[in-house]
Amino acid sequence: MRMRQRHTLLGLVIAGLAGLWTAVAAETATTADLPDRRITAALQYPGITLGPDDTLNVDLLIKNRGRSDETVLIEVIEKPEDWTVEIKRYGTVVSGVFVASREDQTLNLAAAPANKEIKKLPPGTYRFAVKAQTSDGALSQSSAIVVTVVSAEKASERVSIETSYPTLRGPSGDKFQFSLDVRNDTGQDAVFNFRATTPPGWEASFKPAYESKQISSLQIGANSSKTVEMEVTPPYNAQAGEYDFKVEAQSPKARAEAEVKVVLTGTYGLKVGTSSGLLSLVTERGRRSTVTLLVQNSGSAAQREVRFEAFKPENWKVEFTPETIEDLEPGAIKQTEISITPAEEALIGDYSISIQTEGEKANQETEFRVTIRAASAWGWIGVGIIAVVILGLAAAFRILGRR
């Protein structure tokens, strides 16, 4: 057993060493395979589209895949007449770059109209070409880019708002959340301001996805998209119906808009009270007392069944006649009679009885204060006893007195 384990271990070590050796061999082989001299120079994109407010900045990549180090000179060989082109590295204008063997360098091509007065790029198609060659001129390579500058209207189309659920349904008490994907294809980071046009009384707010803070603007990186949640809250008295919203995302250079819709279904609400407004009653132990409860449908949808439940002390009886209210139309009022019978051994004082009125998607709690008073019947019996005693005393006075 033990031997076998040792063999396995040994095998593993050998295999590992073999692997290492192969890797090293491959490395030397690639170095050995490299040609004596070889460079590659190319602009990053063959063509780009810009808006009038953009600036033209394109990376120029230079690679040395030869075995010897090279100094590469860059020359602009083609440009529009009234444009100036600069090859820069970290802001410094350069004429070439030294690239060691198997290394890469990145330069930057920046172009602008020669006339500094022109702040916006004139629309049109322009071609730029650069040529890279080694200092001895043995190797050279050229690369070109076609720049299309489009008008402002076309540029704005490169921002888009998309939503997977443009229409939401729900009762008026709810909040509605639209998830909006804002895509920035302008090729530049930008801060977008969000604005929503709502029907009167509605409120709209914007939040980043999965966060609770409210925002009004958001930075979106070039050629990327972000998800923004728009939450709309209907006014408390909103009627059922369809409501249209317009969302706008605007950056200094571009804007986009989208339309979303909310369909409000009916609301559910109940109002419960008594006719006098009093929520207290006075009774005695074991004596049934009744109170009439009025139930109003304060929503905009009908309630098919309203039930009642009581939170009460043990041994108390609370009954409802009728036990349920059926078909309560919006705005209609119906009543039920509550009869409360306190327990025989209830204490003198105030008890709380709470009545739950439960309808469809709406419930209402009503609390009653039930004051238990001491029965006064016993009081009169006591008075009677005292009267009897006093009468007895008076009789004794009469019979025995004045002797």
């Binding site: 002390p313 327990a343 204490l347 105030d350 204060r369 029965a375 016993w378 006591g382 008075v383 005693v389």
Partner: protein, 314 residues
């Protein structure tokens, strides 16, 4: 009758006995005010309870509150006033002389009882007024109408209770010729009702409603209820229960032990509010009635016995 009453009052107020009594009252009032005042201040630091003024009378402090003091030693006051009412006259052989005066015979016992009641009233009233005044000074809480009403009823009940013992002492003084016998009889009854009835009630409850399973609330409640009910045979218990309900507006029931379910407790705690005065009175009304009736019956008995006694031969 009024002449007898006036003479008796003069006797009471003029005697050394009354001077000692007065000193006792003053002392009790001072001590209980001091103790109550310090404790009420502590109690007021936290949540403010309503009807703070009543706390002055019911806060026990270190030793006792005024209410506890009157409940325990009030009967002694009545006994001191009454144990020698009739038989002293007999011993000094003045009863015959008294009866030979142009006064009716019932006027003697009525007058003596009335004078005793008046003295008791003066003593209790002065004690309470002293405490009220001192309390106003030290605590600075002004009593409301409700509290004054409660205190007035408490005073009435206390006078009736002490008068019960006065009536009992007069009854014994009519029944027994010897001063010592009547004093001893009254004191023995007082000690029995104040100290032993509760103990006996516990014994009786354990014998008749034993607690077999100490975890069964039903059995414990039955046992306690029986003990409470049987200890009501003592007027002292009757009195202390009645007055504690009158003076504590949060007491909702006569019994010491109440079984409430969890829902009932929640429901009760929702509006925790002191009872109005009339409800408190109605709660203990049976006790009040019983106390008043007992006092009257006691006096009536001594009246009847005295009227039927042969006194000329003495």
């Amino acid at each position: 009758m009024w002449t007898i009453c006036r003479k008796e009052l003069a006797d009471h107020f003029g005697s050394i006995r009354f001077l000692i009594l007065f000193c006792l009252i003053l002392m009790v009032a001072l001590v209980s005010t001091y103790m109550a005042a310090t404790h009420v201040r502590e109690a007021l630091d936290g949540a403010k309870p309503s009807q703070v003024f009543l706390l002055l009378f019911t806060t026990p402090g270190k030793f006792f509150s005024l209410v506890q003091f009157i409940a325990l030693f009030g009967p002694l006051l009545g006994i001191i006033m009454g144990f020698d009412a009739i038989n002293r006259e007999r011993q000094h052989r003045t009863l015959g002389k008294l009866v030979s005066q142009p006064i009716y015979r019932d006027a003697i016992v009525n007058g003596k009882f009335l004078a005793g009641v008046l003295t008791i009233s003066v003593a209790l009233l002065s004690m309470m007024l002293l405490l009220t005044g001192l309390g106003l000074m030290t605590v600075g809480v002004v009593p409301g109408i409700e509290e004054i009403g409660r205190l007035a009823i408490y005073l009435l009940v206390s006078i009736a209770y002490v008068s019960f013992w006065l009536g009992l002492a007069i009854l014994f003084s009519v029944l027994f010729r010897s001063l010592a016998t009547s004093a001893l009889a009254a004191v023995a009854l007082w000690i029995f009702s104040a100290f032993f009835v509760g103990f006996l009630a516990d014994l009786a409850a354990d014998a008749l409603r034993p607690i077999r399973n100490p975890r069964d609330p039903e059995e414990i409640v039955a046992n306690r209820r029986f003990a409470d009910a049987s200890s009501l045979a003592s007027p002292a218990v009757l009195y202390s229960q009645a007055t504690s309900t009158i003076l504590d507006p949060y007491r909702r029931t006569r019994s010491n032990l109440v079984l409430t379910g969890p829902m009932e407790r929640l429901s009760l705690e929702r509006f925790e509010r002191p009872l109005p005065l009339d409800q408190s009175i109605l709660v203990v009304w049976p006790y009040l009635t019983l106390l008043a009736a007992m006092t009257l019956v006691c006096f009536g008995l001594s009246y009847v016995v005295f009227m039927r006694q042969e006194i000329r031969s003495v």
